[in-house]
């Protein structure tokens, strides 16, 4: 039986934290709640080890929701309706699209080619979504590429920018301010309200980056 801890998260949500051994249980709990859609459920969301269950206090007592979730959390892993997917993301590692590529490679004492090889060699796992709609925190960045984010965010990061910060990499789906080091750009759409779900990536998915030429990137960009 997985070990977990349930606590209040304000007055209309409960937080369930699973221990490190129960990997995948938090997303699976959130998913099974969303699938069953009890009338009191407002939303259920998870990162790797923490699920948050948002409820309508007018439709359920806290004691009731507590025991429902305790039962669900202690049950064995459910077969998830959404199977973890593998995505290959074509990205253009070119300094005209990625302002930090060359300075970062120089700082790390490697060539841009070596930096690109490292970033494209790794297999990343979606740890959580947040920051912006469709933004996924990808774990699995090679240790040689782990660099702190900028102390002051850039006022404007282009949509599709691939960034790295700390032990993570990720793609900005929307133009926004941002403090990650930008090493590539992709034309893949990571968020579209017309899709169900609107985000391309889900927690637990696997992501790889594939280096494409500037010519290839412009062609995909033009087709969109």
């Amino acid at each position: 039986m997985p070990r977990f801890r349930i606590t209040h998260h304000g007055d209309r949500a409960v937080r369930i934290e699973f221990d490190a051994a129960a990997i995948g249980r938090a997303p699976s709990l959130a998913e099974s709640l969303r699938t069953n859609a009890p009338p009191w459920l407002v939303d259920a969301v998870a990162t790797a080890r923490v699920a948050l269950v948002v409820f309508d206090p007018a439709k359920v007592s806290v004691a009731n929701i507590w025991s429902t979730i305790e039962t669900l959390a202690s049950e064995g892993p459910r077969r998830s309706a959404r199977v973890a997917q593998t995505h290959t993301i074509p990205a253009c590692y070119h300094s005209s699209l990625a302002p930090d590529l060359e300075p970062l490679a120089a700082d790390l004492g490697m060539t841009t080619g070596e930096l690109i090889a490292l970033h494209t060699s790794a297999e990343y796992t979606v740890e959580s979504l947040g920051f912006q709609p469709g933004f996924a925190y990808l774990a699995g960045l090679p240790a040689q590429l782990c660099v702190p984010r900028f102390p002051e965010p850039r006022p404007r990061v282009a949509a599709g920018s691939v960034g790295i910060a700390g032990e993570r990499t990720g793609v900005y789906p929307h133009q926004s301010p941002g403090g990650w080091r930008l090493i590539a750009r992709t034309a893949v759409e990571f968020f579209s309200p017309a899709n169900t779900p609107p985000a391309l990536l889900g927690v637990g998915d696997t992501v790889r980056f594939e280096s494409v030429s500037l010519h290839h990137f412009s062609r995909i960009g033009a087709a969109r």
């Binding site: 939303d43 740890e127 947040g130």
Partner: protein, 320 residues
């Protein structure tokens, strides 16, 4: 079709309704009216469903026109100099009061004085297209239509109001109850799981000192100036968080997540503001002082019921 025309959008005006639930897993914030109590009251006074889309006007009003005769109701903060000007007449528009508004007239709303947000509710509601089940604007990802703060020249479609809708009046007693609730400067909070990582000094700072609302606050978060709250070392990874959660970044300046805030928080979060007090938080202006007070889940529940009683004293809800 009837249209609301934006002549001058004020400082930061967006379309907001009750928000979009069920998409946090895609990183989509709930959004919706920051002061959802005022939105609901404005709509109830117009005898329409609580969460009809309205304009959320922040700090400075603006100028608006309509193409069909309609009724409007301002709900929330009081603005200076709110008038409807016709070709020959001009009349004042008090807050919480359904008021007829006709083509050829101009609704002018001056700066807000006793709060940060006022809702311009319109009979029938704003009828821009639903995006992910809501008309709310999330400017950060261009969600909603037009998906940004309004600009001069924008035209917003309006729904045709129910012909049998009879507007309501707010009694002086109910108005006083609502205004005193929205004027709160002491926000009640509940402890979160991360609280155990904070020192007693953090609690002393949070509960014994006064903070002020920073000029940098917006719909993504309310930033607080004032005493620094010692933050524990950074926790492992980010995790889901709801609007109202107080985050403490390493520099010790608290940020209260707003309706458009990120759906996950990477900083330690010791407390969350209770749902009943979020409308009052949304009404605090830059440089307003605020304080925190620790409460219990039972008390939070009683406060939620008290707010519901206030709302039901306005009028019975209309089915959506």
């Amino acid at each position: 079709m009837s249209i609301l025309r934006v002549i001058d959008p004020g400082l930061s005006t967006t379309v907001q309704d009750g928000g979009r639930n069920g998409h946090m897993t895609s990183g989509v914030p709930v959004g919706g009216a920051a002061d959802v109590l005022s939105l609901r009251i404005g709509n109830r006074l117009l005898a329409q469903p609580d969460e009809c889309a309205a304009l959320e006007i922040t700090l400075v009003g603006g100028i608006y026109e309509t193409t069909q005769p309609t009724t409007i109701c301002l709900a929330g903060a009081t603005a200076t100099d709110v008038t409807i000007e016709g070709t020959s007449t001009s009349r004042a528009v008090p807050v919480w009061t359904p008021t007829p508004f006709a083509p050829g007239e101009r609704l002018g709303i001056g700066p807000l004085v006793d709060g940060a947000r006022v809702y311009l509710c319109i009979a029938g509601g704003i009828a821009t297209p639903l995006v992910l089940d809501s008309r709310s604007t999330h400017a950060g990802s261009q969600l909603g239509v037009p998906g940004r703060t309004l600009q001069a020249g924008d035209e917003l479609a309006l729904s045709t109001p129910a012909t049998d809708a009879h507007c309501h009046r707010l009694s002086a007693q109910t108005a006083a109850g609502i205004e005193s609730h929205l004027a709160r400067r002491t926000l009640r909070v509940l402890p979160l799981a991360h609280h155990e990582h904070f020192s007693a000094i953090a609690d002393d700072q949070l509960f014994l000192r006064t903070f002020t609302i920073s000029d940098l606050s917006d719909r993504t978060g309310t930033r607080l100036d004032g005493p620094k709250v010692p933050s524990p070392p950074k926790l492992e990874v980010s995790e889901p968080a709801l609007p109202g959660v107080i985050q403490i970044p390493p520099a010790g300046r608290p940020i209260i997540l707003g309706p458009d805030g990120p759906t996950t928080g990477g900083y330690p979060m010791p407390y969350a503001v209770i749902t009943a007090d979020l409308p009052a938080l949304a009404q605090r202006r830059p440089r307003d002082p605020i304080r925190f007070e620790r409460t219990t889940p039972e008390r939070a529940r009683e406060e939620a019921l008290r707010v519901q009683t206030l709302l039901d004293a306005v009028a019975s809800p209309e089915p959506s």
